[in-house]
């Protein structure tokens, strides 16, 4: 046994190697991505691993593998589970033979997400067990146990860490790595795997029949545990367990919930021994509702009583406030300290030389009055450049654009979508737009990588998750085969060509596609490509501010004149737009 300081996702990945797992897939999404990234980078791989094109595809792949008796892991972020919800809801009917763990990482406070949905609801909806770790060590141990549990009960298991587990760090005790030696074998069993009505009705009944024993088994496993120490009781789940542990007095009872469904008899027994109960959990009142069901006349404090928030993430200080407001003792009083309101914000920004900035600049130039639906990726930061009017979920740029165009709106509709997002769920929208004869311009921002989540390869990159070269998918061929007549590929670093392609698109009817292609500057830098940085000639600079408004983080206003810092990656865009010709290539440093 080894102790190491690890990121939560590293500990989770390590647990997969200890299990060991045979089949790994997923779609990148913060805060889940590092698990597959770490596993695919292993020098020795005794498992199959892929980055799938989307979460539904990933889960169905993993399900197929688990039906062949091998252990499979499928990772995604919480909103990815919406995409994979279709196979999830019926995979509980069919069950699995090999262990299947679905990791859906939740993001309370939406650090890097479009919403704060609670994956535990999906587990309840699909009637599968759910593990909800309270610490990194527990996350590690749960993953290891989840595969065994999945095999025991013959159901997929949902594993739901949150951002503060995935992206926290701590000392973790690890187990030994193992090699499984399993190979998949499919045993034909239509009554199990073909969900025609006659089969599915039987399977549903079977699934419901398993529930009682699942609850008992989870208490036996020790992930739901309670200590009676006084008349007041706090019940916490997930990361809140860690926060409560820090400040709960020894005279207050404490129940830690780490797995669902909760055994009602066990819960009722614990609750009934107290005068007051406080439930502390992030997001939905999921545990709280269970507690309310069994509490009878015992007062239950939590979200429904107004003591705890329904939104955002908890913190030690927030937990302290909740306990105080409900009249529960704490053994530490957090000071009141507030963020300085006049600190200028530092929001994330597209990198210096990012192709997206160049593309947005050209789009705004050609379509001054346009409407700009967009999508999910680094380019969502085009919001700061006025190039993003809507985002809702993966792939929804083209579809929302079609809807707006068909609504009777007269202005030009120009949507942006990244290469990975287009391949994830954009293609159907494009096909539909052509089929329904929408008048829209689609700009595919093709930087050949899934950048936002940490630069994972995708089918347009031309390599697999393990770095094996494969033929890259042709975005042009996909668009043409959907029936798009105008498909033009340009390098957005060349402003003139980019503007011309967009003007051409503007003049044509129907669906037009401009593919703006240039490698992401970060992946280019990693590949050893460097460009000569640019300099401002302060004699020629008239301080007009054109380059500063372009928004490149390597351009500053140094006193009266613009200056270029050592962050410049040499895209040349500022030089192309400077009306005084004051920006030119500098000396290579």
């Amino acid at each position: 046994m080894e102790r190491r300081y690890l990121l939560g996702n590293e500990a989770i990945a390590h647990a997969c190697l200890e299990s060991p797992v045979d089949f790994i897939c997923g779609y990148p999404g913060t805060p889940s991505s590092e698990v597959v990234d770490i596993l695919r980078m292993q020098p020795e791989r005794n498992f199959y691993i892929e980055w799938s094109v989307n979460e539904k595809v990933a889960l169905e792949n993993a399900l197929g593998a688990a039906w062949c008796g091998i252990r499979a892991l499928c990772t995604m972020k919480h909103v990815g589970l919406n995409v994979a919800a279709d196979p999830l809801m019926t995979s509980s009917y069919t069950g699995v033979t090999g262990g299947l763990v679905i990791m859906s990482a939740d993001d309370p406070f939406a650090h890097s997400s479009q919403n704060e949905q609670d994956s535990r609801m999906y587990a309840k909806f699909a009637k599968v067990p759910c593990f909800d770790p309270g610490s990194i060590q527990e996350a590690h141990d749960m993953v290891r146990d989840a595969f065994l549990f999945s095999e025991d009960i013959g159901l997929p298991v949902l594993f739901r860490p949150t951002t503060r587990i995935c992206h926290s760090k701590g000392d973790v005790t690890l187990g030994d790595l193992r090699v499984s030696g399993r190979t998949g074998q499919f045993n034909r069993d239509p009554a199990q795997y073909v969900v025609i009505p006659a089969h599915t009705r039987v399977l549903h009944k079977k699934l419901n029949g398993k529930q009682a024993s699942i609850k008992e088994r989870l208490v036996e496993l020790g992930y739901n545990k309670a200590e009676v120490r006084g008349r007041d009781a706090v019940i916490a789940s997930g990361i809140a367990v860690s926060y409560v542990s820090e400040i709960i007095p020894h005279s207050t009872s404490f129940a830690k919930i780490g797995a669902y469904p909760i055994d009602e008899a066990w819960l009722k027994e614990f609750v009934s021994r107290h005068e007051r109960v406080l439930v502390i959990e992030e997001l939905s009142p999921f545990v709280e509702e269970e507690v309310l069901q069994v509490a009878g006349t015992i007062p239950v404090f939590g979200k429904k009583s107004g003591n705890a928030p329904y939104e955002g993430e908890l913190s030690p200080a927030a937990v302290g406030r909740i306990m105080k407001s409900a009249g529960f003792a704490t053994n530490y009083d957090f000071p009141v300290a507030n963020y300085p309101p006049d600190a200028p914000p530092r929001p994330p920004i597209l990198c210096a030389g990012c192709m997206h900035r160049a593309a947005f600049y050209a789009i705004k130039k050609v379509f001054r009055e346009g409407i700009f639906p967009s999508d999910i990726g680094c380019y969502t930061l085009g919001l700061q450049l006025g190039g993003v009017d809507t985002t809702i979920c993966m792939g929804a740029s083209i579809t929302v654009a079609s809807g707006i165009a068909h609504s009777g709106e007269k202005r030009d509709v120009v949507c942006t979508i990244g290469d990975s997002t287009f391949l994830h769920t954009g293609i159907q929208g494009l096909m539909n737009a052509v089929y329904s004869n929408a008048a829209i311009t689609v700009v595919i921002l093709d930087n050949r990588i899934t950048a936002m989540t940490g630069h994972q390869p995708n089918p347009s990159t031309g390599i697999t998750a393990c770095g094996v070269p494969v033929p890259p998918v042709s975005l042009e061929a996909i668009c043409r085969s959907c029936g798009v007549l105008y498909v033009e590929t340009v390098d957005p670093y060349n402003l003139t060509l980019m503007v011309n392609a967009l003007k051409e698109a503007k003049a044509r009817p129907g669906v037009k596609v401009v593919i703006a292609r240039h490698p992401c500057v970060i992946s280019a830098r990693r590949a050893g490509i460097s460009r000569r940085p640019y300099d401002v000639d302060s004699e020629k600079c008239t301080a007009c501010g054109t380059c500063v408004r372009f928004g490149c983080p390597a351009i500053e206003m140094g006193g009266e004149k613009a200056v270029i810092t050592d962050g410049c990656s040499g895209c040349s865009l500022c030089a192309q737009i400077c009306p005084s010709g004051a920006i030119t290539p500098g000396v290579r440093k």
Binding site: R3, R4, Y5, L7, T30, P31, E34, H111, S112, R164, H167, S168, K169, G170, D171, I239, S242, Y243, S245, E246, S315, P316, A317, G320, N331, Y332, F334, P335, V336, A337, N338, Y339, P340, A343, P344, P345, R346, P347, P348, I349, L350, C351, C378, L381, Q384, M452, T453, G454, V548, R549, G551, C552, P553, I555, E556, M557, D566
Partner: protein, 194 residues
Amino acid sequence: MKESYDILVVGIGGQGTILASNILGEACMIENRPVKGAETHGMAQRGGSVESHIRIDGRFGPLIAPGTADIIIAFDMLEAFRYSYYLRPGGKIITNRRLVVPTSVFMQGLPVPTDREILGRLSGYELCVIDAEGLAKEAGSLLTQNIVMMGAASQFIPLKTESLVQSVSRLVPPKTLEANLKAFELGRVAGSSC
């Protein structure tokens, strides 16, 4: 009451706050002490404001509560100011002298914060200002600024210098080891006069 020594490392996405957190965590492993931490990944890493929490001897959650950090290590002066409310009374701020003005300030024509203004706003704290850029240059690589800062902070952190040096040696790319060790030492000397 608090049993952990709580360090907040703050900076701008891409400045190496994560490596700094790893160095502290690894040093705890070397000394066989428990440690917890939390950090920013994802979108904020694109040039946004980022924070790493490290709790030496921490046994509970990863987050430090505002008003309770023992020390703040800031890779940028504006970030030192932004997160100063995390410091406990009597705590210390070790900050890089550099101030990178957020691009949005220029784009939106907001008032540009100056070094003097920010230093003024921090004057109520025990402050140690380090010329990380100058010292990193002296060490042989501008990329070692984060290690300079760790060296300076090592004067105050309850971890042995040997553990931190060993940790740096384990974590930086072998090719850059010499410059990083020099950077650590230069930072350490600079920190001693705070």
